[in-house]
Amino acid sequence: MGCYRTLIRWHDQLTVVGYYLGCAALAIIFGAYIIEVFGRYFFNAPQWWASEAVSYSLCAGTFLMMPYVTWKKGHVAVALIFDMLPENGARVALWLTYLLGTLACGFAAWITMEETIRQYVNNVHLMAVKPVPKYLVSVFIPFGFASSTLHFFRLLEFKAIDPNNSGSGFSEG
């Protein structure tokens, strides 16, 4: 049990690290565009790397942040069913959604990891001014899905499910 708790704590800490790296990725996106715009207009020096840094940071940031969003139950969902069902029914329905999340994310983690390994083995590079190995960017995708799988799996503990806290964020912001 102690070992399990330690693993949980490590997983939480890893998730928090992902959160901060996700924030850093957004800061890089902002910085890259500002340097690009100012470089272009004030120093007549367009930056070849800016657009690529933005793409890579967006991909990395999205999937580094993903486990944190899952942990905080921040994913967008149409949560009407939980309000309409009686408490026990809502608990079962929530459990089923967590199970679906575990299965779907687990499967996605597997296929994206397989694809990343294929890119590494075949030495696939991204088409860019300075081509970089694709796996260096795509590796964040299986990380996000795998860590989210664990979070969904941890939510499967039936007694801990709170039907009044289904989470569900809003996509519009």
Binding site: K72, V76, G173
Partner: protein, 437 residues
């Protein structure tokens, strides 16, 4: 299985997965992985992985976190309070001035924020209690706030416009610029409707004696206008840069963030804590949105692979119905579904089906998708499950949901009238984008 059955099954399964309460990205993943297994076999799973990568690696979508970050900096730093006070001072004495203030503020906030929920929540905490205390009609006040907040996704910057532009391969700059006139037109419609109601039923607003505007000197008014200038700089950094071709929408969003930070610093509201919190929220919401988009992308590829998209286009051509009738049908379906389903999720289902039809029907993409933008935006204030409604109710004290529902309907009708106007007079949408091409 014929293409009709495939298309219908796919859509019904997807809607059922949404309504099951599962996270939307999980619903899309589950359906798409199943679809790939059925139609393509295990060899297709690499395509799913690549479709996820392509979405996550799309630099155009970086506009989304930057627009959210810009609004976060402004709202979290409290600099919008200064704008609030300035607009309040600039509106003179008149019957129902709080209604005018609400709609004016919403329009200005719409030009600073890309999403309606934050605006609705803010107005619910600030303007609404004052209106209620001063004896304004609760339902009309709520309706004003809901409708005003719904201008945010239409007036640029708009997160939904970025999503639509990226998915439909339509010019994002064109969609953003095209949203200016419809947004201002709707704002004018809300104002006209409200003032007409006050005129014909004066009890909807308290007597002037009870709702006196503060006495403001000309000097104070000038100071209020000067106070708005930094915000004008933000708006110019975004829209001006896009319109004059100085920067791409993503770059303009970044300059907008910089202008927001400079504004916060100018008003001595800049702090490290505020910046990190803003970054955290923006990155969080971005991950949420991009995951749905990344997980859904395979859906359109599956539709194309099964031949459903081509066959549907052929069917529409063979029907030979009037394009306006088709437009009505194409808008009616999302209008109804948006009452129950998340706007972005719905767009992800609808866009791959509608996009091939536009050329066949001879529709201008910017015009069509702008009307669609209004259509899905109104979903946020359409009972029974509008997000803006819930954001308002969550932030406002002691408000019955039934009152909120009743309050929203007249403004839903105004939105529909606005859509009819855009459909009848396309230049309302296309004139500005064609000027700045």
């Amino acid at each position: 299985m014929g293409w009709e059955a495939t298309l219908l099954t796919a859509i019904l399964l997807l809607l059922a997965a949404f309504m099951s309460g599962a996270p939307l990205f999980v619903a899309f993943l589950a359906i798409n992985l199943t679809g790939v297994a059925v139609f393509l076999g295990p060899a297709g799973f690499g395509m799913v992985a690549n479709s996820i990568f392509d979405t996550g690696n799309n630099a155009d979508l970086a506009t989304i976190p930057l627009f959210i970050l810009m609004a976060e900096v402004l709202f979290r730093s409290g600099t919008v309070d200064i704008l609030f006070d300035a607009v309040d001072k600039l509106i003179g004495r008149m019957k129902g001035r709080q209604y005018v203030l609400t709609i004016s503020l919403s329009t200005v906030f719409g030009a600073l924020s890309g999403a309606g929920m934050a605006v609705a929540a803010m107005l619910a905490r600030t303007v609404f209690p004052t209106m209620r205390d001063r004896g304004y009609d609760t339902k009309l006040a709520i309706g004003n706030i809901l409708a005003g907040a719904s201008l945010a996704p239409i007036i640029p910057p708009s997160v939904l416009a970025i999503v639509i532009g990226t998915l439909s391969n339509t010019s994002i700059a064109g969609l953003l610029i095209g949203g200016i006139i419809p947004g201002l037109m709707l704002s004018a419609m809300f104002l006209t409707y409200t003032m007409l109601r006050v005129k014909f039923n004066p009890s909807l607003a308290p007597d002037d004696g009870q709702d006196v505007a503060p006495k403001i000197s000309a000097g104070e008014k000038l100071r209020a206008i000067a106070g708005c200038m930094p915000f004008a700089l933000i708006i110019f950094s975004v829209m001006g840069f896009i319109m004059f071709g100085i920067a791409t929408p993503s770059e303009a969003a970044a300059t907008g963030v910089l202008a927001a930070i400079i504004t916060a610093a100018y008003y001595r509201r800049l702090s490290w804590k505020m910046i990190t919190e803003s970054l955290g929220t923006a990155a969080f919401i971005t991950s949420m949105i991009l995951l749905i988009m990344a997980s859904s992308r395979m859906f359109s590829q599956l539709l194309a692979f099964t031949g459903a998209t081509t066959e549907l286009t052929n069917l529409i051509v063979s029907l030979g119905w009037h394009p306006m009738l088709m437009l009505f049908i194409m808008m009616a379906i999302p209008f109804v579904l948006c009452m129950f389903i998340d706007q972005i999720a719905l767009m992800l289902v609808v866009i791959p089906i509608y996009q091939p039809l536009l050329t066949t029907l001879g529709f201008d993409p910017i015009w069509f998708w702008l009307i669609m933008l209004l259509n899905v935006t109104v979903g946020g204030i359409s009972p029974p499950f509008g997000y803006v409604i819930f954001a308002f109710q969550g932030a406002a004290d002691k408000v019955q949901i039934s009152d909120v529902f009743r309050a929203s309907w007249p403004f839903v009708v105004l939105f529909l009238l606005g859509m009819v106007a855009l459909a009848a007079f396309p230049p309302l949408v296309t004139a500005l984008p064609s000027l700045f091409k």
